[in-house]
């Protein structure tokens, strides 16, 4: 009897053990299904993260081509760009691994510049009436220059564009008739900087405030191959930001408030001086400041534009085009997306 009871207990024990193992295996299999999908989804998300990381790196002028590796959230990824980002089309492979799950994506992206405030003259003035004075050897030249200042031979644009016929007469009467090459045009299509500056204010490479003025040092902002965004912000638009010294920059210069140029300041690209609805003053009267590209002044009625001495502002389609292609201002459109 005792032996039978012992065998019975052992048999029952073995049966329960088998059932328990089956239950556990079944539960484990169900969990593996869930975890497996989680791994797959994580790998997929990593591959997409890799694409974004790579595009931001390209925006910053880093890792334009070749392989870029990274890791995130216990997973690893890398992207390979096999076509130069100097072209407008980018071919990118994105690989990721999370645990034993891998994911692969192949993309073809078109890179383009976002809407850009075009200026159809060397100086575009969006303020009416404008207080315009030009004296001495100051010069505004609408002929097309390359970004270094040499004439391209292209007739280019008007020297100055204003909003009304009365402003055109003001410019002509106050020095424009002798100092402006290319004439004075009435052009109401000069871009309103307010439509664009917010993005520049958010994506600046260098930022100055009125506390930094005068900016008097040997400074170089960017290069022809790597133009930058320089922002000067004065909450009080009656306060001027003054550039003097030996400064040179490429890209977009945005000034909120008054702008005073002096010294050997040289800018290749677009200069925007704006004052919301407030009156502003753009003044260049000392030294030999030079602008190659275009300048937009936008302010309230009575905004002033004074030039004298040896300042020169020259239209350059090449410099404006370089500024248009600042990496961080570019956008991407998907041509092909395979995953």
């Amino acid at each position: 009897m005792g032996r039978t009871a012992l065998l019975l207990v052992l048999g029952l024990g073995a049966a329960f053990a088998v059932i328990g193992i089956n239950l556990r295996n079944s539960g484990t299999a169900a969990t593996e299904q869930q975890v497996g999908y989680h791994k797959y989804a994580s790998a997929r998300n990593l591959a997409r993260t890799a694409v974004h990381a790579r595009l931001r790196a390209i925006d910053r002028g880093l890792s334009i081509t070749g392989r870029l590796e990274g890791e995130f959230n216990d997973g690893t990824f890398y992207t390979e760009v096999d076509s130069g980002a100097t072209l407008d089309t980018i071919y990118m492979d994105s690989h990721s691994q999370f645990a034993e799950s891998t994911y692969y994506m192949r993309l073809k992206l078109y890179r383009y510049s976002k809407p850009y405030p075009m200026v159809n003259s060397a100086v575009g003035i969006r303020a009416t009436p404008v207080d315009f004075k030009m004296q001495g050897s100051a010069k505004i030249d609408g002929r097309d220059h390359d970004s270094d200042g040499s004439l391209t031979g292209d007739p280019g644009k008007p020297g100055v564009a204003v909003m009304t016929t009365a402003d055109s007469a003001t410019v002509m009467l106050n020095g424009g008739s002798t100092g402006v090459v290319g004439g004075v045009a009435v052009d109401t299509t000069t871009s309103n900087p307010l439509d664009y500056v917010q993005e520049y204010l958010s994506n600046y490479d260098y930022r100055y405030t009125q506390a930094d003025s005068p900016i008097n040092a040997d400074i170089t902002w960017g290069s022809p191959e790597d133009p930058k965004i320089v922002v000067c912000w004065t909450p009080d638009t009656t306060v001027a930001v003054k550039f003097t010294g030996n400064c040179e920059g490429w890209g977009i210069l945005v000034v909120h408030g008054d702008l005073t140029l002096a010294g050997t300041f040289k800018w290749h690209g677009l200069v925007i001086a704006y004052g919301d609805e407030s009156m502003i003053r753009v003044t260049a009267s000392v030294g030999t400041p030079e602008i190659y590209g275009g300048l937009i002044m936008s302010g309230g009625a009575g905004s002033a534009f004074y030039m004298r001495g040896n300042v020169s502002m020259n239209y350059s389609s090449e410099a404006l085009e370089q500024a248009r292609w600042i990496n961080k201002l570019l956008a991407y459109r998907i041509i092909e997306w395979y995953e």
């Binding site: 079944s26 869930q34 999908y37 092909e336």
Partner: protein, 195 residues
């Protein structure tokens, strides 16, 4: 007398033990069925999710025109180079009727049909709901069926499906079915829109 009492007691104890084991066995069987069907349902849901993501993410890939040819709440027809081999295929998803899923014990499920150049396949996943909604770039839902002039404006597809076990959880006469709901907003990024 003492031996007789022992024998009667043993019989009673044995009977109780057998009944207990029987109850435990029934409970364990139910638990094992539940685990098995849960696992099967989960696996089916994962596989269908994989399949939908694989196909829908490629909508319009290498297709130069008519990337989506028709779109309704329970069917979609699109063009894509699924294998990235240069061959653009017509792919179609649609649901069938409950009667067409008579092979399963679940009376609520219906088949899902997937058609490509190799033919149409009936998939008996145990789907009891399968619904698609389409939104434009402003995330406004498009009317259904999507008008032909709006097919090119499809920016993303909300896909929802509910999947139940093809067999009841407990026994053949049971009416309990394990179910899983899956929902995802899938972006077919080859539509030529801004993503």
């Amino acid at each position: 007398m003492s031996n007789m009492l022992d024998m009667v007691g043993s019989v009673l104890l044995f009977g109780i033990l057998v009944l207990t084991i029987g109850r435990v066995q029934t409970g364990l069987n139910t638990a094992m069925y539940a685990n098995s069907f849960t696992q099967i349902t989960q696996r089916n849901a994962v596989q269908l999710a994989h399949q939908l993501e694989h196909d829908f993410a490629k909508i319009g890939y290498h297709a130069t025109s008519e990337k989506i040819k028709a779109a309704d709440s329970t069917s979609i027809k699109f063009r894509a180079d699924l294998m990235n081999d240069g061959n653009v295929d017509d792919i179609e998803y649609r649901i069938g009727t409950k009667e067409e899923a008579a092979a399963t014990m679940n009376v609520a499920d219906f088949p899902l049909y997937r058609k490509d150049s190799n033919g149409e396949i009936m998939q008996l996943w145990g789907t009891t709901q399968f619904r698609m909604r389409y939104v434009n770039i402003d995330y406004q839902q498009l009317p259904m069926p999507v008008p032909s002039d709006s097919l090119s404006k499809i920016y993303a597809i909300w896909v929802t499906f509910v999947m139940e076990g093809r067999e009841p959880a407990g026994s053949a006469i049971d009416t309990t079915y394990y179910s899983i709901t899956w929902q995802k907003l899938i972006y077919p990024r080859n539509m030529g829109l801004s993503y």
